[in-house]
């Protein structure tokens, strides 16, 4: 062993009282060192494995085979041997009229008259209401790819009338379709728009206030009692669980400030009978309060990193305090401030718990039209779909997660790019 070579020449019965014990002990120590090194490495690998498992698990649910059963087979609807796809618009309307209830037919007519609908639109209606495919069971991607025979055996045994279809639950349509109670037709457009509106309010509120507070604490505040309280308080607020902010939002924004957050004060109430403060504005302000401490702490660090010589040069030229801050400190700290803000905002986008408490709507199909609309957001949508017992909803939840992760990845990547550009310039 290495240690033996190393120690033999020096140990000539003089230094160590007992050579062999000494060398054995060193060997043992090195073995122990190697053993624990492996343990430490494995722990680190576990982290990577978990991340991989998480991503694979989501992709595994996003794609896969599904057993679909039609209420009426499309072949049965063929007229004079012409398959459904080739029928004319009039024939399709006839099929629709004779197969759905009168009430539904009238409702569809009211939504948009059949004359003005395209043939493709009516074909879609026939598929939706007459053929009415329903997913009986779904299989994960791994099962679908590697255990196809097992899937087929199960299909033949338990769902003899259904057929297999490969689903990519995440497709372009999924991102633009509104919410629906049918997993085959559900989409996340309402949720994405809700998220964007909420985040816009959050940024509009938290960015100016947060940066102002950071400027105050770094540039103006002396070492006084009140300033120390503010600083300690900000650090404590950063550790408050997000659900507490939800409760605060419920009490303050939803309940106390209801005239403001429901829009009644501005006379823009959409429906006076259901006036309540569970709106995008309340949600955005709640998230704003939540990320405010993070933005302040990050912005403070960015401002602190601006070299003092810049300030002194500015003061030396006769600039006032605010002129110095506005024209020299802020432009230099801006990339750092923006990086911190983007990271805080990506935290806000993923937040779910406070919005559930503030009162995100469980089911809305109408796009939010402004800050006083009811809302749902992407994480809320994921939560609700996950909480459903049916497996299909788990699949579309996974698809929504992929969209959310892509959104967050894009935000984080822009933060990293910003940071890199900044560090090159300095």
């Amino acid at each position: 062993m290495n240690s033996e070579q190393h120690f033999n020449p020096t140990v000539k019965g003089e230094i160590a009282p007992n050579d062999h014990d000494f060398i054995d002990a060193i060997d043992k120590r090195h073995r122990l060192g190697r053993f624990w090194r492996v343990i430490f490495q494995i722990s680190t690998i576990v982290g990577i494995v978990v991340l991989t498992a998480l991503l694979i698990n989501i992709l595994n649910q996003t794609f896969g085979l599904a057993a679909v059963q039609n209420e009426i087979e499309p072949e049965a609807l063929a007229i004079d041997g012409a398959p459904l796809e080739e029928l004319t618009k009039a024939q399709l309307v006839d099929i629709l009229q004779s197969n759905v209830s009168e009430g539904l037919f009238r409702k569809l007519e009211n939504d948009q008259s059949f004359e003005r609908r395209t043939r493709e639109g009516i074909y879609g209606l026939v598929l939706e209401w007459v053929v009415h495919p329903e997913v009986q069971k779904t299989w994960s991607l791994i099962d679908s790819l590697f255990r196809r025979s097992m899937v087929e055996a199960e299909l033949a045994e338990r769902y003899p009338e259904a057929y297999l279809q490969f689903f990519s639950w995440l497709d372009a349509e999924f991102a633009v379709k509104p919410q629906s109670s049918d997993p085959l037709r559900a989409g996340v457009r309402t949720a994405i728009l809700g998220s964007l509106w909420t985040i816009a309010i959050t940024i509009l509120f938290a960015f100016p206030v947060g940066v102002s507070a950071a400027i105050y604490l770094e540039e103006y505040a002396g070492y006084t009692f009140i300033n120390r309280i503010i600083q300690t308080n900000i650090h404590n607020l950063a550790g408050v669980p997000s659900i507490i902010y939800g409760i605060l939002g419920l009490a303050i924004f939803v309940r106390v400030l209801e005239p403001l957050t429901s829009g009644a004060l501005f006379g823009v109430l959409e429906d006076p009978t259901t006036a309540n403060g569970r709106t995008i504005l309340s949600a955005g302000l709640t998230l704003g309060l939540l990320i405010l401490p993070l933005i302040i702490i990050n912005a403070q660090e960015a401002i602190r990193a601006v070299p003092n010589s810049l300030r002194q040069a500015s003061f030396g030229l006769g600039a006032s305090k605010w002129q110095t801050v506005w024209s020299h400190v802020l432009p230099n700290a801006l990339p750092g401030i923006l990086t911190g803000t983007i990271l805080s905002v990506s935290r806000a986008i993923g937040e779910t718990a406070p919005l559930v408490v503030v009162g995100a709507s469980t089911f809305i199909t109408i796009d939010p039209s402004g800050p006083f609309s009811k809302f749902t957001t992407l994480p809320i949508q994921i939560f609700q779909w996950t909480a459903r017992p049916q497996a299909e909803f788990r699949n579309i939840a996974a698809a929504a997660i992929v969209i959310l992760l892509i959104l967050l990845l894009a935000l984080n990547a822009s933060a990293v790019l910003l940071r890199n550009r900044y560090s090159q310039r300095m």
Partner: protein, 395 residues
């Protein structure tokens, strides 16, 4: 003004085009307004804290003072007019006690004496109107959530007026302890590896991966717990042992969630240990493990402890994972493979619908929230204290 200037005039005051220039500091309104605005923005954080404490306190107070009515399953067996103070009630139902508050329709009464099924009452209490009642009227008994019941009982069943927070706290502790059992050893190992063993290149790969883990929304972790961790546990331990919703799998996933927090804070503490300490240890012939475990870790112990405490506080406040994977409905159990609702999980579940502002449920989420707030605040303050001590030693 001119007189003023003269008073302060000295030989250094410049004169430009025959006019004296005043070099004294002038009040700048704009600067003052800006500074005031900036101060207000800073003070908003204090307002937030005050708002949290005030709202939580106010609603919790009304939670504990609120009169709850429970159906005693007893009914009036005689008709009474508005002057009768003694009447018969049916034998069935709950036992009545002297000085108990009861309610018939909207009228509140207090029992002053009981003789078998004959009770004597004081009528028209709590500013309610004294009215006649007919035979068969249901008798409700009044109850309040006492602080003792709140902190000592183990049943949380709002429907039947049981508000013992212990079952919720117990579930929270179950998930948090499981999480810490996962996150502490793993997080510390990762931190030691990154700070003492890993090459510069390995670090530049591993740290971003941990950052990605930290940036994933908690609802995604909840999904992961339900669709991956629970089936995994059920496959290993058997479907009879592990329920679909259980605190164990939620706890393990919370552990994974806080792993990056523990490892990055601990690593910061380890890297802050002066190099000279390590070199001294190597110079005395210590191996790398001995240096790491016997010299560096003890030197950074306060920083590591602070990381652990912040992590516990984070685990206690974690919501979405437990709301999705730990199960609905409170249960007092020490079995990690059974479902139990945590404090945060309960808040999410009952505030999911349109919560009426006058319901006891609305008040109860504030009482739970207050408890949660103080638990996490205490832990965070302890952690900050520890860090401050640590800094005093090493700077």
């Amino acid at each position: 003004m001119a007189i003023n200037v003269d008073t302060y005039r000295n030989d250094l005051s410049p004169v430009i085009e025959g006019e004296l220039v005043d070099l004294r500091k002038r009040p700048r309104i704009r600067e003052v307004i800006i500074q005031a605005f900036l101060f207000l923005c800073g003070a908003l954080s204090i307002l937030t804290t005050v708002g949290i404490v005030y709202e939580l306190g106010k609603e919790s107070a009304s939670f504990f003072t609120r009169q709850l009515w429970e159906n005693s399953n007893k009914e009036l067996v005689v008709d009474i007019d508005d002057r009768t103070t003694s009447f018969m009630v049916s034998e069935s139902g709950a036992q009545l006690q002297v000085s108990q508050t009861i309610r018939l329709h909207d009228e509140v009464m207090q029992i002053t004496a009981i003789d078998g099924t004959q009770i004597t009452v004081e009528r028209g209490l709590q500013k309610t109107e004294v009215v006649p009642h007919t035979s068969g009227a249901e008798i409700f008994t009044g109850d309040r959530v006492s602080l003792i019941e709140f902190f000592t009982h183990t049943e949380w069943e709002p429907q039947i007026g049981q508000f013992g927070i212990l079952s919720l706290v117990n579930a929270t502790l179950m998930t948090s302890i499981t999480a810490m059992l996962v996150a502490l050893p793993l997080g510390l190992s990762v931190a030691i590896y990154l700070s003492e063993y890993a090459s510069h290149r390995a670090r530049s790969v591993l740290k971003p991966i941990l950052e990605v883990l930290a940036g994933i929304p908690t609802v995604v972790y909840g999904y992961f717990a339900l669709t991956f961790m629970t089936p995994l546990l059920r496959a290993i331990l058997g479907r009879d042992v592990v329920e679909i919703y259980n605190t164990g799998s939620a706890g393990i996933v919370i552990g994974i969630l806080i792993l990056p927090l523990v490892s990055s804070m601990s690593e910061d503490a380890l890297t802050a240990v002066p190099r000279s300490l390590r070199e001294a240890a190597y110079g005395l012939g210590a191996t790398r493990l001995e240096t790491a475990v016997k010299i560096v870790v003890p030197a950074a112990l306060s920083g590591i402890a602070a990381a652990f405490i912040v992590a516990i506080s984070r685990a206690i406040g974690e919501t979405m994972i437990v709301a999705i994977a730990a199960g609905a409905g409170s249960a007092f159990t020490f079995n990690p493979f059974k479902g139990a609702e945590t404090m945060t999980g309960h808040i999410v579940r009952i505030s999911g619908g349109d919560l009426s502002y006058n319901s006891i449920d609305y008040n109860s989420i504030f009482a739970i929230g207050l408890m949660l707030f103080f638990m996490t605040l205490t832990l965070n303050i302890i952690s900050q204290r520890i860090v401050r001590r640590f800094r005093e030693v090493y700077e």
